[in-house]
């Protein structure tokens, strides 16, 4: 018997953070402008220590002002999507659940687009708009997951194939809504929106939004983490969990709201990036087991690693043109989804 201890948890997280750091350094190095690894590492440490004035070189601008913000965005979005995926999988008791597959991301996208339209019509200031879009995305996500949950109910119990089917139908319905809405947006906005929808980290975001995003992530992921041990028991079923002392309704509402916030935030800045929330928690389970006290932080860091890698691929493989990062994750994720589906039915 070797239960998880705080020491082991922190040790593993530190390890993963080490991997993330290496990935970030490599991602900073790769791109059209070549930079040296040594210079990068030195500069990154300086930035982390708060001595950004010490950066001397001419590539400082490219690395710190263009590549780094994009990487930071990738870290927060990847972590949010993965934690949301792990939570949905436990909450809905379905290993194939993920914000994208269940249509929750599309719901968030509809909410975000509606918010954009409202912003245009009301001519809001950019600061207000920066708050309204994530809020719209959160509402879209929350409503969609509630709808998909109800669709998945059969005789008061969640039926996992009905749930998946309901999610897929919801996603395709919402895509139609999005196309409809986009034609009303029209003109110059259209190309940007299409790119955003496919999942995209290349649009520069204001620094304040990055702060909002990080803050939202910490609060929502923290809230989910307080239920980590309860989620372990929920895997065996809600009745069993209740008999072991889990306050099931409370856990359900906390995880539901927090996972909707995470999805909404991620979608509002990066569109619908698929499969990260599916793939990463499964990888982490293979490595660390299915204890949520370990799985949730591991998924957060793992999601950051995976999305930074995917985004680096997206901007380098077809350089000088940018691929959509959503296309990269779908290329890898969709076959993985099929694999999981086949294995489960075997």
């Amino acid at each position: 018997m070797r239960p998880l201890t705080l020491t082991r948890l922190l040790l593993r997280c530190t390890m993963l953070l080490g991997v993330l750091f290496v990935v970030v350094v490599i991602a900073l190095k790769l791109g059209a402008v070549q930079v040296s690894l040594y210079g990068l590492g030195r500069d990154l440490v300086r930035v982390l220590l708060g001595h950004s004035s010490g950066i001397s070189t001419d590539y400082g601008m490219i690395v710190m002002d263009i590549r780094l913000p994009r990487i930071l965005l990738g870290i927060v979005v990847g972590a949010s999507l993965s934690v949301a995926g792990a939570s949905f999988q436990a909450l809905l008791r379905n290993p194939l659940a993920d914000p994208y597959v269940l249509g929750v991301s599309s719901g968030a996208a509809v909410g975000a687009i509606l918010a954009l339209i409202a912003e245009n019509d009301l001519a809001l200031s950019p600061e207000m708009a920066g708050v309204i879009t994530p809020l719209g995305a959160f509402l879209g996500a929350a409503i969609t997951i509630a709808a998909v949950y109800l669709l998945g109910l059969r005789d008061g119990q969640i039926d996992s194939s009905t749930l998946l089917l309901g999610g897929i139908i919801t996603a395709s319905f919402l895509s139609a809504v999005i196309i409809f809405l986009m034609s009303t947006l029209g003109g110059s906005n259209l190309r940007g929106t299409v790119f955003w929808l496919m999942g995209d980290l290349s649009t520069p975001q204001p620094r304040s939004l990055l702060y909002l995003l990080s803050f939202g992530f910490l609060v929502a992921a923290g809230a989910i983490y307080t239920t980590a041990a309860d989620l372990n028991l929920l895997l065996a079923g809600e009745k069993e969990a209740m008999h072991l002392g889990v306050d099931v309704p409370r856990v359900r509402i906390v995880v539901y709201l927090a996972a909707s916030i995470l999805t909404g935030l991620a979608v509002s800045v990066s569109g619908t990036i698929g499969y990260v929330g599916l793939l990463v928690p499964h990888l982490m389970r293979l490595i660390f087991g299915s204890d949520h006290r370990m799985l949730l932080p591991a998924s957060a860091i793992g999601g950051a690693i995976v999305l930074v890698i995917a985004d680096t691929l997206a901007r380098t493989v077809a350089a000088p043109s940018d691929l959509s990062v959503g296309a990269v994750t779908a290329l890898v994720g969709a076959p993985f989804f099929i694999y999981l589906l086949r294995r489960r039915n075997a």
Partner: protein, 284 residues
């Protein structure tokens, strides 16, 4: 949580205690009504019984007689329509979820796991009511869980995956998890359902031993006549939501009564140990 039409309940500070009685089911009834406007689909008529520490109570009856409903009522998961169920003087369904899980452990029909876990992880879950949230298991938790595994004779399974062990072994691990809860009351819903005969006897022998040594009150739902006759101190006989008889097996196991309840010709004889034994015959 008390409804106006009910007599006032004893407050949490002053539990009603009766030194020797642990579980007291008093005039408890229930109605299952899926739609409030319609007549109930199923009713459990008022019934009463009491059990002491160390006693095994078997709730016996054919399918759909209300056995599992009665067990859910006792577990506190359902609220009785009328009457009350006391565990050491506290009304079970008003206990906070966590407190309830420290006093009542439920062993349900096979549970499916979404992701595989090891047997020891599963048993440690029994310590959840004493912690929860992000708390990590202590040395004490590990000791208690290890003892639980020892008590059901499953120490050698500790490191096995739950989806790679046999039905009987799995049932023992589930029982060990219930023991790790350190309950006063151990509830089992058809625990022998998917077990072969050897494993059935093993399980009930362990229950008998545990009830005696740990002073658990055990309530088992079953339709296995002979297992109930052999192991129970008390039998609650149910038919279509009605309690027909409560008492020691020797008094409940009467040929006419059992034939009528189970709709099968049978004979009852007493063994040398004073336990009834039932033999079934063909209808032809």
């Amino acid at each position: 949580m008390s409804s106006p039409h009910r007599t006032p309940m004893p407050s949490a500070e002053q539990p009603r205690t009766n030194s020797n009685i642990r579980l007291s089911v008093e005039q408890v009834s229930y109605a299952y009504t899926p739609h409030t406007s319609q007549a109930p689909l199923f009713t459990l008529e008022a019934l009463s019984f009491q059990a002491k520490p160390g006693e095994i109570v078997a709730i016996l009856g054919p399918n759909a007689c209300g056995k599992s409903t009665l067990l859910k009522l006792i577990s506190g998961a359902l609220e009785p329509l009328s009457g009350r169920i006391f565990l050491n003087g506290f009304v079970t369904h008003t206990l906070p979820t966590k407190t309830r899980a420290q006093r009542i452990a439920m062993v349900q029909q096979e549970s499916a796991l979404l992701f595989p876990s090891r047997a020891w992880e599963f048993v440690l879950q029994g310590r959840h009511p004493y912690g929860g949230g992000v708390r990590f298991e202590t040395e004490e938790d590990v000791t208690i869980a290890t003892n639980a595994l020892t008590q059901v004779g499953a120490n050698h399974l500790s490191n096995r995956w739950m989806d790679k062990i046999s039905g009987g072994e799995k049932q023992r691990i589930i029982l060990a998890r219930a023991l790790a809860q350190q309950p006063l009351l151990l509830l089992l819903d058809e625990p022998t359902l998917h077990l072969d005969i050897g494993a059935q006897v093993d399980l009930l022998d362990s229950l008998r031993r545990l009830a005696t040594t740990n002073r658990y009150t055990v309530v088992v739902v079953t339709h296995e006549l002979n297992l109930a006759g052999e192991y129970a101190d008390q039998v609650v006989l149910l038919q279509k939501g009605k309690c027909l008889r409560v008492g020691p097996p020797a008094s409940v196991f009467q040929r006419e009564l059992l034939e009528q309840v189970f709709q099968a010709p049978l004979s009852v004889e007493m063994t040398s140990s004073g336990r009834p034994r039932v033999t079934l015959f063909s209808n032809k």
